[in-house]
């Protein structure tokens, strides 16, 4: 299943489809235009490029994607947050947890290493959590829970330098305080499974009855190289600018893309997150991959831009 949000295809796929020198030059022009125009319009450019490249599609053209993956089903719910409220059980709004089944307010790296996991591969002892989704006040847990680790978002020369996510790193993505769909600090993205005709939105969308509500969330992929967390839980990480990591956050790491599919559709008025409206969607990640397993995947899948299987093999 593609990790790509509808209509925001990764650059690699666009480039992978055509091979002639003219296309290479066009790709260079595209990348340069992205450098000068920033990521928002770069995405629009990609959209146009994808349309142009999508037909006719060469059957044997391989898709080069720097990717490894963990599928981590729902484990439990708690009003706990070991990043924002460590040691303060019951202090948080309700969270749904995925992966490590031991996560609670007292979770630290050592505790995660002792825990068990719902993830495939079972080597991933990381913890992932999001605000719980409610439909008419009843909890709805996602049945599709895929956590992609990607190279996309930075240029290929930077992808080649991507370092493993350090053990114990905590990342929060999204803004629980976002004020509306026009709020640029919201990176929430809701869409409908297999129904690309429904425009994605930062708020909940109305999905047809044969569809599921999807949430895409991209985590920041540039690390300051020093801190596993920061007082605001954000400033040790940053998003890339123009395909590069900023000088303040020079270490490129894999981009975590959380893709959740909820068994719910129809009128979004009855939906609510524990943090509020759809645009307050956020995700938390506490890295507990074994260092050697993470390092192998970064080396064999990410740096060389190869799509790996669940075991992290090309």
């Amino acid at each position: 299943m593609s990790p790509t949000p509808p209509r925001f295809p990764p650059l690699r796929r666009v480039l992978g489809r055509r091979r002639g020198p003219g296309v290479v030059l066009a790709a260079v022009a595209l990348i340069l235009s992205m450098l000068s125009t920033g990521s928002a319009s770069a995405r629009a450019d990609l959209r146009a490029a994808d349309k142009a490249a999508s037909s006719p599609r060469s059957a044997e053209a391989p898709v080069r994607v720097a990717e490894f993956v963990a599928e981590c089903p729902f484990t439990h719910r708690l009003p706990d947050d070991p990043i924002v409220f460590p040691g303060l059980p019951g202090a948080s709004h309700m969270h749904s947890f995925f992966g490590n089944d031991s996560t609670n307010a007292h979770t630290d790296l050592a505790a995660l290493k002792r825990g068990r996991t719902s993830c495939s591969p079972t080597t991933d002892l990381s913890s992932y959590w999001t605000p719980t989704l409610y439909a008419d006040g009843k909890e709805i847990e996602p049945t599709g829970t895929t956590f992609y680790y990607l190279g996309e978002g930075v240029h290929d020369d930077v992808i080649a330098t991507i370092k493993p996510l350090p053990q114990g790193l905590r990342i929060v993505a999204g803004n629980a305080k976002a004020t509306g769909v026009g709020d640029p600090t919201s990176i929430a993205r809701w869409s409908c499974l297999h129904h690309g005709e429904v425009n994605p939105s930062k708020d909940f969308v109305n999905c047809p009855s044969d569809s599921m509500l999807e949430s895409y969330l991209d985590f920041p992929q540039c690390w300051n190289g020093k801190d596993l967390d920061s007082p605001d839980h954000k400033s040790h990480m940053a998003y890339p600018v123009g395909g590069q990591c900023p000088a303040t956050h020079p270490v490129a790491v894999p981009k975590l893309r959380q893709v959740l599919r909820y068994p719910v559709n129809g009128d979004p008025a009855r939906l609510k997150l524990a943090s509020g409206a759809g645009y307050t969607m956020h995700g938390d990640f506490f890295n507990a991959w074994p260092e050697d397993e993470m390092a192998r995947r970064v080396r064999d899948c990410i740096n060389v831009i190869v799509k790996c299987d669940a075991d992290g093999r090309p």
């Binding site: 303060l88 801190d227 490129a252």
Partner: protein, 206 residues
């Protein structure tokens, strides 16, 4: 040559071309962007070697301290807004008599909490605004209570304050052991004590 190899070669040519163009742009100085980016790329090849710390700290404050201070400010702010409704809405002298010193105590807590936040170097923004945090008087609750009068108001007020005080006592108790900053832990001990006191004196709804 397989299709995969061909594609890989073509892609590596593309990467090479991109690199050359990027380097050229960096020298030209016209675009302005690439010089900073080149620096960050080289830094990415040499990540910090020293062992990073774990939980975030800010001076003597750990993440529990900061999380607790921010949450208590958000909760007390809402509680004060609720308690300020009492004079115009309640019909019980006993409720008014109880609410007044509680509101004063909440305001006192807020002053001390905000001083701690300043010392921690954390900006006074409310990360829980608009959220339904456990025990917190929410915007929805406030809207409903505002429209109530007399005994209906009293019942809603006392139920909301009971939840607030129970939660405040509970997380203050945790903060006393989870926190690091001595002054913050001391305030937590005080909040736990006074929450229990006000809770014990909470009037019964009529």
């Amino acid at each position: 040559m397989t299709a995969a190899t061909a594609a890989r070669r073509a892609a590596s040519v593309a990467v090479g071309v991109v690199l050359v163009v990027l380097l050229a742009a960096g020298c030209g100085g016209g675009s302005g962007k690439p010089s900073g980016e080149a620096r960050s790329t080289s830094a990415a090849r040499h990540p910090a070697t020293r062992a990073p710390s774990g939980q975030a700290t800010s001076g003597t404050f750990n993440s529990s301290d900061i999380g607790w201070i921010q949450l208590m400010i958000a909760m007390d702010d809402q509680a004060v807004r609720l308690l300020d409704l009492v004079p115009g809405h309640s019909s019980e002298a006993g409720v008014e008599k109880w609410a007044k010193p509680v509101a004063t105590a909440c305001r006192g807590e807020l002053v001390r909490l905000r001083k701690l936040l300043v010392r921690a170097g954390v900006p006074d923004t409310n990360p829980h605004e608009g959220h339904d945090m456990p025990g917190m008087v929410t915007e929805d609750e406030l809207r409903t209570i505002e429209r109530a009068k007399g005994t209906a108001f009293d019942a809603l007020l006392l139920a909301a304050m009971r939840e607030h005080l129970d939660q405040a006592a509970k997380i203050a108790h945790s903060e006393r052991s989870a926190g690091a900053d001595p002054a913050t832990r001391k305030l937590a001990a005080s909040v736990e004590r006074t929450s229990h006191t006000w809770r014990a004196r909470l009037p019964r709804a009529a």
